[in-house]
């Protein structure tokens, strides 16, 4: 089976001539059908600043989680804590 290389070269020249003939019309089509990427892309905040905020919040979350374990720690201290605290509490309110 023939590869048609020479025929392809001929067809290529024809295509180039057609491109030149339709250049203005094609430019207009390309202009109308182009995407304005700059306007479409989301304008997000600075990644470095975002990461810093994330880090700060995560640190604070970890601290909160540690505080949330306070109950278990207090329970471990024993009933004495509760007794003394109850005596102190009325003076605080």
């Amino acid at each position: 089976m023939a590869s048609g290389k020479g025929m392809d070269d001929l067809a290529n020249k024809t295509a180039q001539n057609v491109n030149a003939m339709l250049a203005d019309q094609e430019a207009e089509v390309l202009r109308r059908s182009s995407a304005n990427l700059a306007a479409l892309k989301p304008q997000v905040s600075d990644p470095a600043a975002f990461d810093k905020l994330v880090e700060a919040v995560q640190e604070s979350t970890a601290k909160n989680e540690s505080v949330a374990q306070l109950k278990d720690r207090v329970v471990k201290l024993g009933a004495a804590v509760v007794k003394v605290a109850k005596e102190v509490a009325p003076y605080l309110v």
């Binding site: 019309q25 995407a35 994330v54």
Partner: protein, 230 residues
């Protein structure tokens, strides 16, 4: 001994700290969590919109290709590719000579078929090439935009998940505080303080309004006195 002596101070500090905290209702955590889920859905919707937008841009270029470029190319290619001469048996394409020649006697039909096949395949290759030239920049832009949108949504979803986790941690802290207060028979302490703070804030607002009213009266009387003196 050291621990026991300081226990009242420690407990007092804890109580003061916990009682001063604001309320974090469980609905806040749930709202934040649901927001995260909705963001995923918004992302899907945004992706669909991007694809639809690019499909419509592609359609404009395909319309140009099919209705303008291809007819112009085929018309020129019929001429440049000697199609009429080949179809009427006057010429065939010789690959060895890379040009159109007279058919070989006795081989007219196979040579004609080979020439027409080469002609049509070359035409299809050019049309495909043109299609690629017209559409590949759009495909590239679409890919880039979808990636940028995905990255932005991923960041927002991640940020929201971190906020949800933080709110949840506040909830956990509050639950511990409530349990501790309850154990000390001070279950309503937080509510009492919050209610009092809210009341104080309302009173401050009312006082501010009164001050504003008084200012207006003073300004009015001042203007009247000024008028009399002139």
């Amino acid at each position: 001994m050291w621990t026991l002596r300081r226990l009242p101070i420690t407990c007092a500090s804890i109580l003061l700290l916990v009682a001063a905290c604001a309320n974090v209702p469980k609905e806040v955590v749930e709202l934040s969590y649901r927001l995260g889920q909705d963001l995923g859905s918004l992302h899907d919707s945004y992706k669909t919109l991007v694809h639809q937008h690019f499909d419509s841009l592609r359609a404009q270029r395909i319309e140009y290709l099919e209705n303008v470029w291809t007819p112009a190319f085929v018309a020129a290619w019929i001429e440049d590719g000697h199609l009429v001469a080949v179809a009427t048996g006057k010429e065939v394409y010789s690959e060895e000579k890379s040009s159109f020649v007279l058919p070989t006697p006795g081989q007219e039909k196979p040579e004609l078929l080979a020439s027409v096949q080469m002609w049509s395949e070359s035409a299809l290759r050019q049309i495909d090439k043109k299609k690629g030239e017209l559409l590949s920049p759009l495909d590239k832009d679409e890919k880039e935009l979808v990636a940028a949108v995905a990255e932005a949504f991923a960041r927002v979803i991640r940020g929201n998940a971190i906020i949800t986790a933080h709110l949840n941690s506040l909830r956990n802290v509050q639950e511990v505080q409530d349990e501790l207060l309850s154990a000390l028979d001070l279950k309503d302490l937080r509510t009492t303080i919050n209610t009092r703070l809210a009341t104080a804030s309302d009173k401050a607002q009312k006082a501010l309004e009164e001050v504003k009213k008084a200012d207006a009266i003073v300004a009015k009387r001042g203007a009247r006195l000024k008028g009399r003196n002139q």
